[in-house]
């Protein structure tokens, strides 16, 4: 009788080894890293792009770029955080690009950008606060939002976020401080209404 051991290769392989594998063109390693972290990257990207457009393409690009940028992974940051950082940076770049394009169109003619409204069926007990926070997060400047998403939602350290966004750690702290201030102010105003 044939034995059927089912240990999937790579499932227990440490992340840094998989990243090295990706750098040398190992598709198994790429597939395994995708399985582990694509959902997290996708979530972070969606937080940075409130309208959610192109999130799939950005996640695709994040992983497609891995063979090229894998050698830069020094293993100090957690791989998940590193990948989320790359995804968020690509999302920011994309947003800036499309933002420029929108501004160009607006100069040409009035273009109304329709944003999806908040989900009316929020079930959480603090639904109103969450709705206020979500709106405030969407209104936050993109740089501050990226820092807030990475540090407070995705739980990257200041250093990891700084590396991901290619800015000094002090800038991360400053942006985070102002992001919190704006969000807390929005929550206070929301509560006062």
């Amino acid at each position: 009788m044939t034995a059927y051991p089912h240990a999937v290769r790579g499932r227990s392989t440490p992340d840094p080894e998989l990243v090295l594998g990706v750098a040398s063109g190992d598709l198994d390693a790429l597939g395994e890293l995708y399985t582990r972290y694509a959902r997290d990257v996708w979530r972070a990207v969606l937080r940075v792009l409130p309208d959610g457009a192109h999130a799939e393409d950005i996640v695709h690009t994040t992983f497609m770029k891995l063979p090229e940028i894998a050698p830069s992974y020094d293993g100090r940051a957690r791989c998940r955080n590193w990948l989320c950082g790359i995804g968020v940076r690509l999302a920011l770049r994309h947003r800036r690009g499309s933002g420029r394009f929108r501004r160009m169109l607006q100069a040409f003619a009035d273009v109304v950008v329709v944003r999806p409204s908040a989900d009316p069926e929020r079930k959480a007990s603090n639904a109103q606060e969450l709705a206020v926070l979500e709106r405030a997060l969407a209104k936050l400047g993109e740089k501050k939002r990226a820092v807030f998403v990475l540090v407070e939602l995705e739980q990257l350290s200041t250093e990891e976020a700084a590396k991901a966004l290619e800015i000094p750690p002090a800038t991360v702290r400053t942006r985070l401080f102002h992001a919190r201030q704006e969000l807390q102010e929005a929550l206070r105003k929301g509560a006062a209404k």
């Binding site: 044939t2 089912h6 190992d26 198994d28 597939g31 959610g52 192109h54 169109l105 997060l137």
Partner: protein, 395 residues
């Protein structure tokens, strides 16, 4: 009136991130006990953090994730460029605006210009020649080719005929729809492929076409002295294997699987994923033909490869093949492993049925019922009832 913020607020994050030294930590903690502003700020920060983390999870469902994985691995294998963000809607809007502005300007100018003043459309020197000759610009290519890194290929176009020549490696070709006067041909060393408008992959190994897979549209394949093969969407043509030696036949009772530990021949990285597609098609074919043991082995090999987009399905189909081979216990074992490896699998219910059926036959009603518990509502569906067998009536 609110007083000025505490100048030591910046230490809140430093303390939380562990950037303060031991002495500074003690000092800051003492300060917080006495500073209402810092205490309030710490509370507000924490409340915001908790609230933000309870925002609705916008992570994608399993299906888009799996679809993207398949796309990613295929593109990575083919060395395709990273996704180009689709700005077509915005480009279209810009184009419409530009045309509108241009048209308005032209109408304004035209309204002021007498019709007789309009210049003739052709320059006198060109008047004696036919229009295409006089104005023929270089023809735009109809096909987009993504090639694996080591592929050797070329692309030319002239007089409505586009020719892609592939000597070695894998290319993925997307061809826009061809008009009746156009032809699109891919020349391979041992034949040619003709398309009208499609997306497909073709692989040439050691000077011979080894595989053609069509994603969209239809292609006609003429290889060697074989009859023309017409492939539609999702169909794959795989070259028949060369006559193997007796020992090689024995060794390959299971389908070959790329081995990342052994040194590989200098093939492009396209090969593993492309081969897995072929392996999957071959395993399905075995299952259809009733070669259940061979199919189980083939699916097992695919399930082991984590880069395979088929790993989830293959793992389940391995259990199906074993079940059809009459190896109920082996099927149940593999189905259990499938459930453990892919908790969100689309085949969860069917895999559970295989596990429950085997348990029921062994008389292990507790296990059968536990396995089917998620599907045991007020009334049992027929397949759940069948899976439980005699255990359905037992307490």
């Amino acid at each position: 009136m609110k007083g000025a913020p505490c100048p030591r607020r910046w230490e809140i994050d430093a303390h939380r991130e562990g950037r303060l030294g031991a002495k500074a930590v003690e000092d800051f903690r003492r300060h917080v006990r006495a500073c209402a502003d810092c205490r309030t700020q710490i509370g507000e920060d924490e409340a915001l953090r908790q609230l933000a983390r309870s925002l609705p999870d916008r992570a994608p469902e399993e299906l888009p994730l799996r679809r993207l994985k398949a796309r990613l691995l295929r593109d990575a294998a083919l060395g395709a460029p990273a996704a180009v963000f689709d700005r077509r809607p915005m480009m279209a809007a810009a184009a419409v605006l530009a045309v509108a502005v241009g048209l308005t300007a032209w109408l304004l100018v035209a309204a002021r210009t007498p019709p007789r003043a309009m210049a003739p459309r052709l320059a006198p020197a060109a008047a004696g020649r036919s229009l295409p000759e006089a104005t023929a610009p270089p023809e735009a290519l109809a096909g987009t080719v993504f090639a694996s890194p080591l592929a050797r290929w070329s692309q030319t176009r002239g007089q409505g005929i586009e020719r892609v020549k592939l000597d070695e490696g894998t290319i993925r070709v997307h061809v826009r729809h061809q008009s009746s006067s156009e032809r699109f041909l891919v020349f391979v060393p041992d034949g040619e492929i003709e398309v009208r408008g499609t997306t497909f992959d073709v692989t040439v190994e050691h000077g011979a076409t080894s595989r053609v897979h069509v994603d969209e549209g239809v292609v006609e394949l003429r290889v060697g002295d074989r009859a023309t093969v017409r492939l539609a969407a999702d169909e794959t043509w795989i070259a028949p294997p060369l006559l193997p030696s007796a020992s090689a036949t024995r060794k390959t009772s299971r389908p070959p699987r790329p081995d990342v530990t052994a040194p590989r021949p200098p093939a492009p990285p396209a090969m593993p994923a492309v081969d897995r597609d072929a392996d999957y098609a071959s395993a399905i074919e075995k299952l259809r033909k009733g070669e259940y043991d061979e199919a189980a082995a083939a699916f097992h090999a695919l399930a082991e490869a984590s880069s395979s987009p088929w790993a989830d399905d293959a793992s389940f189909l391995e259990a199906v093949a074993l079940s059809r081979a009459g190896r109920t216990d082996a099927a149940a074992l593999v189905a259990e492993r499938h459930l453990a490896s892919f908790p969100a699998s689309f085949h969860r219910k069917d895999a559970s049925i295989l596990v429950a059926r085997a348990a029921s036959r062994r008389g292990d009603c507790a296990k059968a019922r536990t396995t089917m518990a998620p599907w045991m509502g007020a009334s049992l569906e027929a397949n759940v009832r069948t899976a439980l067998g005699p255990c359905d009536a037992s307490p």
